[in-house]
Symmetry: C2
């Protein structure tokens, strides 16, 4: 794990870029911690959606909320073919999305993304200001495609927020096989008028999740119209499960 | 509106029973207010589910939370054939439920229940300690069967919590016609493994609700297994919309 520059203090949060080599892949990431943090603390992994990147608006907002409001550490990495992993940085959204559909179809795509995340988790937990505290995961859409198999594979992750996904696409069988293996508390976010992800497929995926403590929140609107209240509830849900004596959900 | 006894102060809440005559029907109710309350305040109507009554456990808990936590007034009435409106008070649950299915089928059942509620609303708003503040409605299952048409009919009600119901049963057409007329913020509570109310019918009803601000929360388990967190969230949702500067939802 190599830092790509100095620590920047922005809006009350320490932010540091890094790169990590994983099986020959270069994985760029960002770590957010409270200013001058020392000692172990809860950690949240944020997996961005397709066409976004590790410092995309909602990733940054959620990371800062978790650091400032709860004293957590947060880490995000660029997904395959996204952010600093792009060969052609200035492609448009449709180009990036088309490439992602190709990547999603590629054999090994999920396993590599899971390996990238697990190596990131190993690396940041070796830092004294992160340590071996409890771990949560947050990721919608592509963040669920790769995040659900990650959480199923890594028992260090004790709580997860998924959503904007169903049993659809090239890895529907993989998601369908991994979902019953989940045991941690899960918040699942659905957009009721999502034209990308059919409602029935969302119900199938939510249904398949093995966790006893799971809940589905649906809001009107399209795939990308998740209301700010659900981001805020996500933060409270993660804090409730990761911080002893943390936020009450009620 | 006649009081049936003195005000009792129980667990920090003033409670008074009343009866109201509505088109020849005797409607028994309970009003909860903060101790010694004076002046207008938000009011929440609670409609209980089939086989329950106006002082059933979850009704009482929610009423006390809204009064103690937020200073609101709360009123509940016995549904048709329930509580003090029963001819034979000591019937078992199955007997009461069977009778309800008959009542639900009876022409005029919904209109009478709506009239009972509107008369109750008129009466309690004439009390100086309730007054003409904003009004919310909370009712699941039978509380939605009768409450959804009520909220569609009475624009004084500015926020509603519904759930455990779909476009099913003898009044499915009535609910389907009234749902698009709703305009207020709606929280809709679903039990994912509800064997009484099929999932598709829940989606149809939620879909039909006209409100721009609507959200669906689904939890695992059977019809009657609504988790305490959803009752608590209900209270916060009502308070957020009824009290200026009230609870944030996030």
């Amino acid at each position: 794990m190599d830092w790509t520059g100095d620590t920047h203090l922005v809006d009350g949060v320490d932010e540091r870029g890094f790169v990590l080599k994983v099986d020959g892949r270069v994985v760029p990431g960002v770590l957010w911690t409270p200013p001058g943090a020392e000692g172990a603390r809860p950690l949240v992994l944020i997996g961005h959606g397709a066409t976004a990147h590790k410092r995309f608006g909602y990733v940054l907002s959620l990371a800062r909320e978790l650091v400032r409001g709860h004293g957590f550490a947060v880490v995000a990495i660029d997904g395959p073919g996204h952010g600093d992993r792009r060969a052609i940085p200035d492609a448009d959204q449709m180009q990036i999305f088309s490439e992602f559909l190709g990547e999603w179809t590629r054999e090994g795509s999920t396993d590599e993304a899971v390996a990238d995340w697990r190596a990131t988790l190993d690396a940041v937990r070796r830092l004294p200001e992160v340590g071996d505290g409890p771990v949560g995961y947050w990721g919608l859409s592509m963040g669920t495609i790769y995040g659900l198999p990650l959480v199923a594979a890594d028992r260090r992750i004790q709580v997860a927020v998924f959503g904007l996904m169903g049993l659809v696409g090239p890895t529907r069988d993989r998601m369908g096989a991994d979902a019953p293996r989940l045991t941690c508390p899960v918040l699942f976010i659905q957009q009721w008028d999502d034209s990308l992800i059919p409602r029935d497929s969302v119900a199938e995926l939510f249904d398949a999740i093995g966790s006893v403590d799971k809940r589905l929140h649906a809001s009107p609107g399209e795939h990308s119209a998740v209301p700010s209240e659900e981001f805020a509830f996500s933060a409270r849900f993660l804090a409730h499960h990761l911080a002893p004596g943390g936020d009450e959900l009620s």
